[in-house]
C-alpha cells in the first residue's frame, strides 16, 4: 500500500492537482461518506438536537457535506490551502480555517459538541523539521490538549485513521489519554484486509457513563474457505497418465497459428495433416 503521508507534508502533497483528483474520485467520495456516517454513529450525539461540530482535516468538505445533510452546523480546519480552495468552489456550509492541528487550536473551552476527523491523524506522525515543536509526540499532545479543552463536557471525538504499526496506535492513544481523554481504539472488520478501519474514539468527561462502542464484524466469515482453491482444481484436471489435457494439442496449435496470422505475424507455418502430430519414436 502506498502511503501519501510518507511522500510529502500534507500541504504540499495535496497541491492543486492532487486536491482536485482526490475530490473528484468517486471511490474516494464513497469511502469518505461511509466513514463519516460511521464516525457520526460512534459520536453518538443525542438525536434531534442541533449540534456544533468540528471537522478536523476537513479537506475539500466531503465529510462536511454529510454533516450539513444530517443537520449539523460545523467548522472545519485543514492545512492544505488547495483543498480549502476546492471546498470554497464546492460552496460548503461550514466555516473553514487554514490551520496546522499540530500547533494546537485557539478555540475557547467548551466550544464544540463533538469532533470528527477522517483519515488525518497519520499525517501527524512524521517530523518535518528537527525543531522540538515538530516532533510527533509534541504535536500530538499539543493537538489533543487544546482539542480536549475546546470540547464540551460530556462529548466525544472520533478519529478514523490509517496506522502503519501498533507502535503508532500506542503513541496516539497514550498522547490522547495524557491530554485527559477517556476511550480507546475501535476496529471495524478486524479480520478483513480491505474493509478494516481503525477508529480512535475519545470521551470528554461523562463520569464513567460512557460505554466503549463495539467494532463492526463482517457477517460472512471470510476465511471459512481456504485460499488458492482454483489452483487445486486446475491441478486435479490432469488425467490419469499424469499429463494435463489439452496442453498443446492440435486444436491449441491451430488456434495459436490463427491468432498469429490475424496479428499479421510473418512466417507462420502452413497447416497440414502433420500439424500437431507426434513424431514416431526414435528407437
Amino acid at each position: 500500500m502506498s502511503r501519501p503521508e510518507l511522500q510529502a507534508p500534507p500541504e504540499i502533497y495535496y497541491g492543486d492537482i492532487e486536491a482536485k483528483k482526490y475530490t473528484k474520485n468517486t471511490r474516494n467520495q464513497q469511502i469518505q461518506a461511509d466513514m463519516t456516517y460511521r464516525a457520526l454513529e460512534l459520536l453518538n450525539l443525542p438525536p434531534d438536537e442541533p449540534a456544533f461540530l468540528l471537522d478536523i482535516g476537513c479537506g475539500s468538505g466531503l465529510s462536511g457535506e454529510i454533516l450539513t445533510e444530517e443537520g449539523y452546523i460545523w467548522a472545519g480546519v485543514d492545512i492544505a490551502p488547495s483543498m480549502l480552495e476546492v471546498a470554497l468552489e464546492r460552496e460548503v456550509e461550514g466555516d473553514l480555517f487554514l490551520q496546522d492541528i499540530g500547533q494546537g487550536f485557539g478555540f475557547r473551552p467548551g466550544s464544540f459538541d463533538g469532533a470528527i476527523s477522517i483519515s488525518v491523524l497519520q499525517w501527524l506522525l512524521n517530523a518535518e523539521t528537527s525543531h522540538p515543536t515538530s516532533s510527533p509526540p509534541h504535536r500530538l499532545s499539543r493537538f489533543f490538549t487544546t482539542l480536549h479543552s475546546a470540547l464540551r463536557n460530556p462529548s466525544r471525538a472520533v478519529f478514523q485513521f490509517y496506522p502503519s504499526s501498533d507502535d503508532q496506535i500506542q503513541l496516539i492513544t497514550s498522547c490522547a489519554l495524557k491530554a485527559g481523554f477517556g476511550g480507546g481504539i475501535v476496529v471495524d472488520y478486524p479480520n478483513s484486509n480491505k474493509a478494516k478501519k481503525v477508529f480512535l474514539c475519545l470521551f470528554v468527561g461523562g463520569g464513567g457513563q460512557q460505554q466503549m462502542p463495539k467494532g463492526l464484524e463482517s457477517e460472512v466469515e471470510e476465511d471459512a474457505r481456504a485460499r488458492f482453491e482454483r489452483r487445486r482444481e486446475r491441478v486435479r484436471s490432469k488425467d490419469k497418465s499424469g499429463k494435463r489435457k489439452h496442453m498443446k494439442d492440435k486444436d491449441w496449435i491451430l488456434h495459436k497459428k490463427e491468432l498469429y496470422r490475424k496479428r499479421g505475424k510473418e512466417g507462420v507455418p502452413n497447416d497440414s495433416k502433420f500439424t500437431g502430430r507426434r513424431r514416431r519414436p526414435a528407437f
Binding site: E49, P50, A51, F52, I73, A75, V77, I79, L84, E85, L88, E93, G94, D95, L96, F97, L98, Q99, D100, Q103, G104, F105, G106, F107, R108, G110, S111, T129, H131, T133, S134, R142, T146, A150
Partner: protein, 123 residues
C-alpha cells in the same frame, strides 16, 4: 467564511499568549450577507457558550447595532432572529484578525483565516 459564531469561540493560540487574548479584533473587514436556515433550537443551545459582550462589541465594530448591550433574560423570537442574523449570516470575507494581547495578525483571504504560526510562536 468567518462568521461571528466561530469568531466568538476563537482566541489567540500563539506561544505565551494566554491572557487577554479574546476576542480577536477585526481590521479592514469586508462583510457579506448570506442567508442561512433559521434554527431557533440551535441558537438557544448555543447561548450559554457565547460571550455576550464580545459578540455585541464585534457586531458593532462591523456596523451592526441590532443587539442590546445587556444580555436579556428572556429570549423571544424577535431576538433569536436577530441573533441568528448576527451569528450565522454575516460572513467576513477579507481582512485581518488581530490579537489584542500579542498583536499577532491572522489574515483572512477568500473567507478563510490563516491560523498558521511561525516556528517560534508554537507553544
Amino acid at each position: 467564511m468567518v462568521r461571528l459564531i466561530t469568531h466568538n469561540l476563537l482566541s489567540c493560540h500563539a506561544k505565551g499568549c494566554t491572557t487577554n487574548n479574546f476576542p480577536l479584533q477585526f481590521k479592514d473587514a469586508e462583510i457579506e450577507h448570506r442567508e442561512a436556515d433559521f434554527n431557533p433550537e440551535f441558537i438557544r443551545g448555543l447561548l450559554p457558550k457565547i460571550e455576550w459582550k464580545a459578540l455585541v462589541d464585534t457586531a458593532k465594530e462591523l456596523g451592526d447595532t441590532s443587539l442590546p448591550y445587556e444580555q436579556p433574560e428572556m429570549m423571544d423570537d424577535e431576538l433569536l432572529k436577530t441573533l441568528h442574523h448576527v451569528l450565522l449570516e454575516m460572513h467576513v470575507e477579507e481582512g485581518q484578525m488581530i490579537c489584542p494581547n500579542c498583536n499577532h495578525v491572522y489574515p483572512i483571504s477568500n473567507g478563510i483565516p490563516n491560523m498558521l504560526l511561525a516556528e517560534h510562536e508554537i507553544a
